[in-house]
């Protein structure tokens, strides 16, 4: 009955130990509640340890801590800040996409595939010139949303109809999407001028432009999506129901929560967010569909969702920090010749640090005699 307060011990598997009074032992208790401030403290401590390890590794790789600080500070000059903000937009959107789906226990790992179809949707509007110039971007955004939505709903349909686990289906559908993209880029949509496997450059009015202060309108799209998602998750009745769907779906159904309706809506929105991520990526960075504009976003999206505990508002912060890491990483790559995998290594170290803080927030380690 009091399972929540179950005490575990490190040496429990061995049947023989006699009472070792005076020596003491570690005991591991489940915490029942911890104030948000202490939780934040533990999180900050873990992050600090993770960052320290990263600094040490970079030092070994030949980047002195002082240089590192300088490079990180360099992010805040106008040019770098602009690229950070441009990079942050799709990161925030994939973070939202993953976070929303994870909130109801749908493991959408198809962020890249949905981005691809978002990009394809937007580019189709550009290629076929749908709608007047003034509303072209809006139509591209809608087409991109539809693309992401269709691709994720296909996985949901397979889950409901054939009981295909969405972890497998969404992940594998990334490859299908990517090869379909190549099919277009080496075929019908190939740039006839350069003969490179990429679509023709968008018209200027088809690109997400800067709105001043180095802020790209792509970021506005991402922030608007985050606000809507944050409101939905924290303040709306649907958000309240979502908590029950993830905590106990059987119970939720029995007490009358419209589990299926909410699940479908949330999964659809997850697809829309990923589709929009594809859209803002192609429309703000390259200005055309390329072979690899979506590369690495599954990992980043899942990472952001995990670090932000699926909270849309925190997703914005984490997305921004990850963008800083990426931009700094590119600088380090150019000026210090470190491989880009180093950036991924640092990402991984930080994930592990935060994951361990989760453990410490839930458990208390005590030395008892």
């Amino acid at each position: 009955m009091h399972d929540v307060a179950m005490t575990m011990r490190e040496n429990s598997p061995s049947p023989k130990p006699p009472p070792r009074r005076g020596v003491g032992r570690f005991t591991l208790d489940m915490r029942q509640a911890l104030s948000p401030w202490k939780q934040a403290g533990i999180l900050a401590g873990s992050l600090a340890i993770g960052l320290f390890i990263s600094v040490v590794i970079l030092d070994i790789a030949g980047i002195a801590p002082f240089d590192l600080v300088r490079e990180l500070a360099g992010v805040f000059n106008a040019d770098s800040l602009r690229s950070v903000l441009v990079r942050a937009a799709p990161l925030i959107l994939v973070g939202l996409s993953a976070g929303l789906a994870f909130r109801i226990g749908f493991w959408n790992l198809g962020l890249e595939g949905q981005m691809v179809f978002g990009g394809i949707g937007a580019t189709a509007v550009s290629i076929y010139g749908i709608g007047p110039e003034s509303t072209r971007l809006v139509v591209m955004g809608i087409a991109a949303s539809a693309g992401g939505l269709l691709w994720v709903m296909l996985a949901y349909w397979m889950k409901v109809r054939f009981r295909v686990n969405e972890i497998i289906s969404t992940l594998l559908m990334n490859y299908i999407a990517s090869y379909f993209l190549l099919h277009l880029l080496y075929g019908a949509w190939q740039d006839s001028k350069t003969a490179f496997p990429q679509s023709t450059q968008y018209q200027p009015f088809e690109r997400l432009s800067d709105i001043g202060y180095g802020i790209n309108s792509a970021l506005l799209v991402a922030l608007a999506a985050a606000v809507v998602a944050g409101w939905g998750v924290h303040l709306s009745r649907a958000g309240f129901y979502m908590r029950f769907i993830s905590a106990n779906p059987n119970m939720a159904k029995v007490v009358g929560v419209p589990v299926r309706t909410i699940s479908i809506a949330v999964i659809a929105l997850s697809g829309v967010a990923a589709g929009l991520a594809g859209f803002v990526n192609v429309a703000s960075q390259e200005g055309r569909l390329t072979q690899s504009f979506f590369d690495g976003y599954v990992f980043s999206g899942v990472l952001i969702a995990f670090l932000s505990r699926n909270d849309p508002i925190i997703v914005v912060i984490v997305g921004f920090l990850l963008a800083v890491l990426f931009v700094t990483g590119q600088t380090l790559q150019v000026f210090y010749q470190i491989p880009f995998t180093m950036v991924q290594l640092i990402e991984a170290i930080i994930v592990i640090a935060v994951a361990s803080s989760e453990f410490l927030i839930r458990h208390r380690i005590r030395w008892t005699r």
């Binding site: 009091h2 307060a5 005490t7 011990r9 009745r237 958000g239 029950f244 106990n248 059987n250 119970m251």
Partner: protein, 500 residues
């Protein structure tokens, strides 16, 4: 004679809440020693300390006269202490033999599992259990899972056997059988601790009884000498009166179940051609030996399980068998499922959330666009007070932190807050103490007097007999007999067995 198990001055707090305060307990080999007390009296906590699951804050544990500091359940097992928990600790997708091997590790899996299989067969034979070591635990009935737990601790070499509320999940017949086996084990020199709150079991089957109240040991007595009234007095401090029941005319049919078929998870058809109806203002009791389809029927009624075929007709919406549960909720159906944490509560969410989730659709707690957290907290606080839910430090606290009886009170508070017209209650007083049990029964009777139709599915025949206006006996997935009040206990018992 040296005590097999002796606990003295035990104190234990959970996050500042005192569960045990100077509790004492002592059992000698060869006796069945009952530990009696209400929910939250500290019985389970005390025995969890004896079995090495919790470390006491103060006090000593002595096994066979030797003071020990148990380093964990494995250490306790090594010292011959075995505990069968109220909620079984079994891995459902594993077979019986695998589960037992998990608790009693052997150097090699291949030879270990062979050895375990033989041991299981031998133990099962000795105890008169019909347990196939190759069956998956998830496919076993509750009573069979309990038998697996008992075999598990006996194979582990237990000489001190702690049974936490073992009969709470059993029918009369099953309980009687279990208690006879318990007696045989005691005769072979095992010290058996029987944690219970059923007085008649203590009177009939225990050699000694220790009574706990509010985390303290209040008395140790000889159950053959002490009167039932004295024991009750010690347990609850006051006796709960049986609720009065008014005779009232029966109304129209509110719920009709026709030729219903339901299958279990593994495809086995558990409810086969079940038909019955319940009218306004009556309590329809469904009695039966557990595992005869009651669980599946209850799940189908509350919407947790899709029936294979047949009709579940509800006044208003009509046949709701395949419609989502939300429809029957809107039509006024309330569900009190047997497994609270499977179908009634989300343990990781707050008390306020759990209380309001069923009614939020009505718009009572804000619009779909903006929920009203203040109103949710206010109503939850009121309900917690009105239904006497104990152990609540705030309605923002997680529901999983409530003890079994208090969690049930929370479920009942929620379900009754909507003035339901049809109530499906499955073992609603399972694991509850005398007072909480009486409160639940009063609520059910009050609902009946208000004109609601109540389906009471219970393996506790006393409960069925005390409350029901009509009684149906469920055997092999069918309603094989029906009795009007006052029903004869013997006849019902015969109906259960004759058709089995």
């Amino acid at each position: 004679m040296t005590s097999a198990l002796e606990l003295t001055g035990i104190r234990k707090t959970f996050d500042g809440v005192v569960a045990l305060d100077g509790a004492v307990f002592s059992a000698i080999p060869g006796e069945v020693h009952a530990l009696l007390g209400e929910n939250g009296a500290g019985k389970s906590s005390l025995m969890n300390i004896a079995a090495g699951f919790y470390v006491p804050d103060a006090g000593t544990v002595a096994v066979n006269g030797e003071t020990v500091a148990l380093s964990g359940p494995a250490d306790a097992r090594g010292r011959g202490i075995g505990m069968v928990h109220q909620h079984f600790k079994l891995v459902k997708p594993f077979t019986v033999a695998e589960n037992i091997l998990l608790a009693n590790p052997r150097p090699s899996f291949r030879s270990g599992i062979q050895d375990i299989r033989q041991n299981v067969r031998k133990q099962a034979d000795q105890l008169g259990f019909d347990i196939d070591p190759e069956r998956r635990v998830g496919d076993l009935s509750v009573a069979e899972q309990q038998q697996v737990e008992i075999i598990k601790v006996l194979i582990g070499g237990a000489r001190i056997l702690i049974l936490d509320e073992p009969t709470a999940v059993l029918t009369d017949v099953e309980a009687e059988r279990l208690l006879q086996i318990v007696r045989r084990l005691a005769d072979s020199g095992v010290a058996v601790v029987l944690v219970t709150h059923k007085l008649h079991e203590v009177k009939r089957h225990a050699d000694a009884v220790t009574i706990m109240r509010g985390g303290r040991t209040v008395a140790t007595a000889d159950p053959h000498v002490a009167s039932a009234a004295e024991l009750t007095e010690l347990t609850v401090g006051q006796t709960a009166p049986l609720p009065a029941r008014a005779e009232r005319p029966r109304g129209t049919t509110l719920l009709n179940v026709g030729a219903l078929y339901c299958a279990r998870g593994d495809g086995q058809v558990m409810v086969a051609d079940a038909s019955f109806f319940v009218r306004a203002g009556e309590i329809y009791g469904l009695a039966g030996v557990s595992g005869n389809g009651q669980a599946e029927l209850a799940e189908a009624l509350i919407g947790a399980r899709q029936p294979l075929s047949g009709e579940i007709w509800l006044e208003g919406p009509g046949d709701i068998g395949t419609l989502p549960p939300a429809v029957r909720r809107e039509a006024g159906l309330a569900a009190i499922p047997a497994d609270r944490y499977a179908f009634a509560l989300a343990g990781s969410l707050s008390i306020a959330d759990n209380f309001t989730v069923a009614t939020i659709q009505s718009g009572r707690y804000g619009t779909p666009w903006l929920i009203d957290r203040t109103a949710m907290r206010r109503d939850a606080l009121e309900a917690v007070a009105a239904y006497d839910v104990q152990g609540v430090r705030g309605v923002g606290q997680k529901a999983a932190l409530l003890s079994g009886g208090n969690a049930q009170k929370l479920v009942i508070a929620r379900e009754f807050s909507r003035q339901p017209t049809v109530i499906v209650a499955h073992s609603p007083s399972r694991g509850l103490d005398v007072r909480a049990c009486a409160a639940v029964h009063e609520r059910l009777l009050a609902a009946r007097d208000r004109g609601a139709a109540v389906v009471l599915i219970s393996e506790d025949l006393d409960e069925i007999l005390a409350l029901s206006d009509r009684i149906g006996v469920m055997t092999r997935g069918r309603i094989v007999a029906e009795f009007d009040r006052p029903a004869d206990r013997q006849e019902i018992g015969r109906a259960m067995v004759d058709h089995a």
